[in-house]
């Protein structure tokens, strides 16, 4: 899932201050799971903004909305009238939701209410951790199922570095050293040979380093005819 954090209230308040009518739109997917931009957080943010405005004598209109998945046009369409009748959309989805609205209504302003962080997982109640950076060429079958690119602070291919201390990372002693974890996992699986040999230079061209990525599946695309049909139905 995509893990995000809400921006500080003051930053949001400053960002939206010039606009009279603000549609605050959350998302029921990842950002709801990570308690950043689901229905509850949208409502809480709207009431906090209202309280702040009242205290500071500012008049603004807020509407709290939430869609199923803000990164998909079909779901955004459901609140199109609310978007178009607002002066500003404050997206409380991840940046993908915010950009979807921006791309669908390019003459309309849509600002991000969240800071989008990473691809990660919920570890326990209230804790989320990063586990992938989308390098485009997964190697975790060789590293005991643990991603060194995202979980090692230096994205090492041949770790652990000399800073690994008590199996914690030199960069943050509260965080496990990814390579110590890889070593332990491979040992458990009787596959230490994998870490004994050198992993050569990685080809980063499949990652963002190679430019923006667009994946196309020709077999899944609609024909022009099918596209027309679908538009007609809508």
């Amino acid at each position: 899932m995509i893990v995000a954090k809400r921006k500080p209230l003051n930053e949001i308040a400053d960002m939206v201050a010039p606009y009279k009518k603000v549609a605050v739109i959350g998302c029921r997917s990842c950002v709801a799971i990570c308690l950043a931009g689901g229905e509850k957080e949208v409502k809480m943010t709207v009431s906090a903004l209202k309280v702040k405005n009242k205290k500071e004598g500012r008049r603004q209109e807020f509407e709290a909305l939430v869609v199923e998945r803000q990164c998909e046009k079909e779901f955004v369409k459901e609140v199109e009238d609310k978007i178009l009748s607002s002066d500003l959309v404050l997206s409380m989805a991840c940046s993908l939701g915010a950009q979807t609205i921006g791309d669908m209504y390019p003459d309309h302003l849509c600002f991000p209410g969240l800071n989008t962080g990473f691809f990660g997982v919920p570890e326990e109640q209230g804790v989320w951790s990063e586990k992938c950076v989308g390098c485009g060429n997964c190697i975790i079958h060789t590293t005991g199922g643990i991603c060194p690119i995202s979980r090692c602070a230096k994205s090492m291919l041949n770790g652990p570095c000399g800073g690994s201390s008590n199996r914690k990372c030199e960069v943050n002693l509260d965080i496990d050293c990814a390579w110590a974890a890889i070593y332990d996992r491979l040992k458990l699986q009787n596959r230490l040979d994998l870490i004994e040999s050198i992993t050569p230079a990685k080809d980063w061209s499949a990652s963002h380093a190679g430019g923006r990525r667009v994946y196309v599946r020709e077999d899944a695309r609609l024909t022009p005819h099918q596209k027309k049909g679908r538009e007609a139905v809508q």
């Binding site: 602070a153 230096k154 994205s155 090492m156 291919l157 041949n158 770790g159 652990p160 570095c161 000399g162 800073g163 690994s164 201390s165 008590n166 199996r167 914690k168 030199e170 960069v171 002693l173 050293c177 110590a180 070593y183 332990d184 870490i195 004994e196 040999s197 050198i198 992993t199 050569p200 230079a201 990685k202 980063w204």
Partner: protein, 306 residues
């Protein structure tokens, strides 16, 4: 001879080598480098120039190397993977070699959050093992990592660092083995304070025959104060400083003198460890003490370089 450096000659002729460290200044002033080069000339075989160590911006290691070479002192340039991708690393290797630098130490590098540019974007296109492998192919075959074969490849003697005191301990010799397989000619270790642990590591190094394939230079740090000992014990990840040493520094009448004494004892001890082919003296911000340490530890005179 791979590069024909003084360090290479000393090590390959089976002599006990001495290297020391010179930290480039946080300024554009070459004088501190010139001063340290003049002062330490003849007290070690080659001098490491750190590459923005602990991610603090300093005069570049390659430029520093050129400055000390003007004083007829041999450099070992450190090259980290933190700030340069494969294009810049290979380019700087060619440039350094063209300028006459013959010893290169390959390092992954300290993370930028330790330094004075915490907002930096790091690179880490390579790690130290990959860097060694790529530099080795470049010097031997002129082959770049992307496949292009160049004329007039760099002539360099390649080094690595290894830390016997980082976790998991049982993997640290394997990690050295990977660096040796990648092309390392010499290895400077992390500073050693726990001799037992180091000797255990060396036992395994010898058991795997690695001492025959790579020259190990044992790292030492002369300490100025008890505070320095405590700091290294508690604050430097991957460093082990036994309590006895902290206490010894704390109880000393003259901490500086005790620090030198301790360092000299450590060197004497390390000289006797089979498979150790030299020492690497890291007198961080205390370069002045290197001649004294070298003298008291019986490391002088250094073999003459022609």
């Amino acid at each position: 001879m791979k590069a024909g450096s003084n360090l290479e000659k000393v090590l390959e002729s089976g002599k006990f080598a001495v290297t020391a460290e010179i930290g480039p200044p946080q300024s554009a002033n070459p004088e501190p480098l010139e001063h340290h080069a003049k002062m330490m000339k003849g007290f070690a075989d080659a001098f490491n120039l750190t590459d923005n160590q602990t991610a603090v911006v300093r005069l570049s290691s390659i430029a520093s190397a050129v400055i000390i070479m003007r004083e007829s002192v041999e450099p070992v340039i450190q090259m980290t993977c933190r700030d340069r991708n494969r294009i810049a690393l290979q380019s700087d290797l060619l440039g350094a070699s063209a300028l006459g630098v013959k010893n290169v130490l390959c390092l992954t590098g300290d993370h930028q959050t330790f330094g004075n540019e915490k907002g930096a974007k790091n690179v880490f296109d390579f790690d130290s093992v990959v860097e060694l492998q790529v530099f080795d192919a470049l010097r031997r075959e002129g082959r770049q990592v992307g496949g292009e074969v160049i004329k007039d490849p760099p002539k360099v003697y390649l080094g690595c660092a290894e830390n016997p005191f980082a976790t998991p301990y049982e993997f640290r010799v394997s990690r050295l083995a990977k660096k040796v397989a990648a092309g390392a000619d010499f290895c400077q270790t992390q500073a050693i304070f726990d001799m037992n642990m180091f000797e255990k590591w060396m036992d395994e190094v010898r058991a795997r025959g690695l001492d025959k394939k790579v020259h190990i230079l044992a790292g030492v740090i002369p300490m100025k104060s008890a505070g320095a000992a405590r700091y290294m014990k508690n604050k430097v990840p991957g460093m082990i400083v036994p309590n006895e040493i902290v206490d010894r520094m704390k109880n000393a009448k003259d901490a500086k003198e005790e620090g030198v004494k301790l360092c000299v004892e450590q060197i004497e001890h390390l000289k006797a460890v089979k498979g150790v082919h030299g020492v690497h003296i890291m007198a961080v911000a205390w370069e002045e003490i290197v001649p004294k340490v070298a003298e008291l530890a019986g490391l002088l005179p250094r073999p003459k370089s022609e």
